[in-house]
Each structure stands twice: as structure tokens, then as C-alpha cells.
């Protein structure tokens, strides 16, 4: 009784195309599903990494704090500007990328900042760790005497700090 039933089933060709098409359809849906899952997983990982970097960067930027100890403009000699700073924040490796001096009518900037210790020797790493003091000299900046200027320095993490200078 069973043998003739299987025999008929294997010999019959009428429903084969429907089974194959269903199998192919299922396989295609599974493949597309896994592809979509993989892509979304990868994309979400990338987004998560970006988001993490962004949060870390913002957190580190918040921890940065620089204090101006003294800003001296040598108007009678080299017309250089000496900026003495202290890393009073809660993060190491504070690196200066740019300095700006400006008032209402004039502005100047430098992107070459060589930090030195207070004793005048160069800081090889060119950054300040927590509690460290240093300075840089902006040579021949040529400020006008008797004016007020804003000195702004920015760090590579994106923080900026300002000081009002009266020459």
C-alpha cells in the first residue's frame, strides 16, 4: 500500500516546479534577510563607533582647561608676544593647534606653536599634561601700544580659551 504511493509520488512530475520555486523563493528570502541583517549590523557597528568617538571627544574636550598665567607683549624690543599657560584641567596631552590675536579692527593667527617649559627649554612632546606650565612666543607680532586685544588659543580637541590683553 505504501510502496505504490511513494512510487506514484516520485514518478509524478506535476508539482515539482512549484516545490522548486518555493525552495528558491525561501532561499532567496533567507539570503536577502541575512544580507540585510549583516549590513545593518555592520552599519550599526560603524554608527556606534562614530557615536562613541564623538562622545569621547566631547567628554575629553570638557575635561580640558587652560589658565593664562601671564601674557606679555614686548613692545620696546622684539615686538613678540609671550603667552604663559597652565593646564589646570583633568586631562593630559593638551596640545595647542592655533593662536589668534584680534581686536575690532585687526586679526592675526598662527598655527605654529612651539611650547616651552617655564625655564625656557623646549617641550619635546609639545603638549602639557595635568598641572604642567609652559609658554610659547609669537615673534614679531607687531601690536599697537595702548590698545586692547583678545588672545585666543585653541587645542586639537577643539577647546578654546581667551585672554584680554592691554598693550
Amino acid at each position: 500500500m505504501v510502496r505504490p504511493l511513494f512510487s506514484r509520488l516520485f514518478k509524478s512530475r506535476s508539482a515539482v516546479s512549484a516545490v522548486i520555486s518555493n525552495l528558491i523563493l525561501i532561499a532567496a528570502v533567507i539570503a536577502v534577510g541575512f544580507t540585510a541583517l549583516g549590513w545593518t549590523y555592520s552599519a550599526s557597528n560603524s554608527y556606534v563607533a562614530q557615536y562613541g568617538n564623538s562622545v569621547r571627544s566631547n567628554s575629553e574636550q570638557l575635561a580640558e582647561n587652560l589658565a593664562f598665567e601671564y601674557v606679555y607683549y614686548n613692545h620696546s624690543g622684539t615686538t613678540s608676544l609671550s603667552v604663559y599657560i597652565l593646564n589646570c584641567g583633568k586631562i593630559n596631552a593638551v596640545n595647542l593647534t592655533a593662536a589668534y590675536v584680534a581686536n575690532a579692527n585687526w586679526t592675526n593667527s598662527t598655527f605654529t606653536i612651539a611650547l616651552k617649559w617655564l625655564n625656557g627649554t623646549s617641550i619635546s612632546s609639545n603638549h602639557l599634561d595635568m598641572g604642567q606650565e609652559g609658554y610659547f612666543v609669537w615673534p614679531a607680532i607687531g601690536l599697537s601700544q595702548g590698545n586692547s586685544y583678545t588672545v585666543k588659543i585653541t587645542t586639537w580637541r577643539g577647546s578654546s580659551f581667551e585672554y584680554q590683553l592691554a598693550t
Binding site: 566631547n58 597652565l86 589646570c88
Partner: protein, 330 residues
């Protein structure tokens, strides 16, 4: 019959599988983003809280400057002395002191790092007299002096400003009149060795800050001397320097003397060569060991003291007597 068709039908199977994958994807995305966002928000909130705390600490620092003194010398050195009271609740660590000297046509500045300058809330910090060199002084002009302290939190504590005319730049000139070496009377100390012999290499006992010294015990005397000679040269004291006292009691004029001594690393060394007093640098000079050993009939007594200093300044001889002290001998 209808239920059988439903279970046997394959037409909706792919849709079910697709829906399952969609739900999976949505669940994975939503849950991971949600959890990760929470953790990152927590990180950021912590950073903001730390920043706020930093600002609160910085703003809560409060110091009151009680007294500031600037003592300029003709060679460009300025001694800065100040007392600062921490009137805030949190402790303050002073890192650096800055000094700016200027007039209408000239400005110069210098700084000095401070060590162990931590002041608890309510306490007073005495800035040790700091010698800062600001080159370019000219004693014919009037200068303004400004200085400020930098705290570890980045605050600036300005000290009082002073205008000093050329007439105030006289310490060195005064020293020319009464002697180049000055003694800090408050810093006088002696070391009591008892009646025993003080051998080479003996460690100094605890010092005593008193002008009342024992009659019979061996003592080493210590005075804090500063060279204010206006030529700013070092003074080199030789072995012909003494601490000398004399008593007129009991019908005899009996002197006692303490030779200048060598104390190195807190130990008495029984050989002395020379001792250099650098310009402007307070230096402890030791004398002894010796004792007055006056007769009992002469005691108690108060005796005059003479610090006899002899040596070289440059190539010239130097001699000075500091006579302003008295000892009580019980």
C-alpha cells in the same frame, strides 16, 4: 477542509520568514542602540558633572592677601614677601608666583615656582621671602611692582601693588654704612650637648630658640646671616671668625668664645676651612662648641655678644662686628 488548506499551503511562507528577519533586525538595532545610547549618555553626563565640579571648585577658591612687601636691590633683585589667608572652604595649592616691575617706559618680569605651598581653608600662608631677579633696574627711577600667585585650579591671586621710588632701593646702600652682613635675630638657635665632649661627627641635638644659654654645657650657636654687600660679591669667612661674649661680673672681665664651626648634614665636623656667604642668600653660620663657664659668683648675668666675622670679599679683606645681641646666663 479549510484548515488543511491553510497548513498545507506554501504561498505565505516566505513572507513569514521575511517578517521574522525584519523583526530580528529591528530588535537587534533598537536594543543595541538603546543600551549603547544610555551608556554613552552616562559617559557624557559624567564628563559634564566633572566639568561642573571643576568650575565649582575653581570658583570656591578664595584668598585674601594680608600683607605684601617688595624689597628691591640695586642689582635687579627683588625680594617678595606676602601673607595670604585662605578664606574659602577648600584648600588652595599655590604653584607659581609672578612679579612684574614696570614704569612708563620699561617693563620686565620674572616668576618662581613654589613647593609645598598648600593652604587649608582658614589657614594663612606666608610666602617665604623670594628673591626674584628682574634685570634692567635703574635706581634713578620710580617703579611699580605687581605680583600674583597662580593656583593649581588656575585662579590668579593678585598681591598688593606698590610703587617704590629710588629712595627705597637703599638696602644695599645701608649695608655699606653699618656692615654688609645682616643677622636675622629671630632665627638664632643653639644646640645643647650637655657637659660632655663634642667629638668629630657628632649629630646636632634638637635646636633651642632662646637667648638664654647654659653656663657649663657645651653649645653650638647658629645664626642666620645674609650678605647684602652692594657689590653683590660673595663674602668668604675664614677661621678667624668668633662668637664672643664678655662678663664684667665678679670683679673680673672674663671672656668666652665660640670659634666658627663646620656643621655638615647635621653633624659637627672638627675641621673648618671657609664658609661662603652668597649675595642675598640667607646662610646659617655655626659657632662652637664651647661654654661660658663663668664663675658661679658671676651668675646669673646678662652679657653682651659680639659676632666677629672676618674673611675676604673679592680680593679684599672683610671684617665686621655684629654687636646687637645679649645673652642671659642663669
Amino acid at each position: 477542509m479549510r484548515n488543511r488548506r491553510k497548513t498545507a499551503g506554501k504561498k505565505g511562507f516566505s513572507s513569514v520568514v521575511g517578517a521574522v528577519f525584519m523583526v530580528l533586525i529591528m530588535m537587534v538595532l533598537a536594543s543595541s542602540y538603546f543600551v549603547y545610547s544610555l551608556s554613552q549618555n552616562n559617559v557624557y553626563n559624567n564628563a559634564v558633572a566633572q566639568k561642573n565640579q571643576l568650575n565649582v571648585d575653581r570658583l570656591s577658591e578664595s584668598a585674601e592677601v594680608i600683607n605684601t612687601t617688595y624689597t628691591p636691590y640695586t642689582n635687579g633683585k627683588v625680594t617678595v614677601y606676602a601673607q595670604i589667608k585662605n578664606i574659602g572652604a577648600s584648600s588652595i595649592q599655590f604653584l607659581t608666583v609672578w612679579l612684574k616691575v614696570y614704569n612708563a617706559s620699561w617693563t620686565n618680569y620674572n616668576h618662581s615656582n613654589l613647593t609645598d605651598a598648600n593652604v587649608q581653608g582658614g589657614s594663612t600662608f606666608t610666602l617665604p621671602p623670594l628673591n626674584l631677579t628682574v634685570s634692567g633696574f635703574n635706581s634713578n627711577f620710580t617703579y611699580s611692582f605687581a605680583s600674583w600667585l597662580i593656583t593649581a585650579r588656575g585662579n590668579v591671586v593678585p598681591l598688593q601693588q606698590t610703587i617704590v621710588s629710588a629712595n627705597n632701593i637703599i638696602v644695599a646702600q645701608v649695608s655699606q654704612g653699618i656692615g654688609s652682613i645682616s643677622m636675622d635675630f629671630k632665627q638664632f638657635r643653639y644646640y645643647d650637648f650637655g657637659s660632655g665632649y663634642v667629638s668629630n661627627g657628632t649629630s646636632l641635638p634638637s635646636s633651642k630658640n632662646s637667648y638664654s644659654i647654659p653656663n657649663s654645657n657645651n653649645t653650638i650657636l647658629a645664626v642666620l646671616l645674609t650678605n647684602y654687600d652692594n657689590t653683590t660679591q660673595d663674602i668668604i669667612l675664614n677661621a678667624n671668625s668668633y662668637f664672643w661674649i664678655i662678663t664684667p661680673q665678679a670683679g673680673t672681665v672674663k671672656p668666652a668664645a665660640w670659634n666658627i664651626a663646620n656643621v655638615t648634614n647635621g653633624k659637627y665636623i672638627n675641621s673648618f676651612s671657609t664658609q661662603t656667604l652668597q649675595y642675598g642668600k640667607p646662610t646659617i653660620v655655626y659657632f662652637g662648641p664651647s661654654s661660658p663657664s663663668f664663675a658661679a659668683s658671676a651668675l646669673p648675668t646678662v652679657v653682651p655678644v659680639f659676632i666677629l666675622l672676618f674673611g675676604k670679599i673679592g680680593t679684599d679683606d672683610f671684617g665686621q662686628n655684629i654687636p646687637f645681641i645679649a645673652f642671659y646666663i642663669p
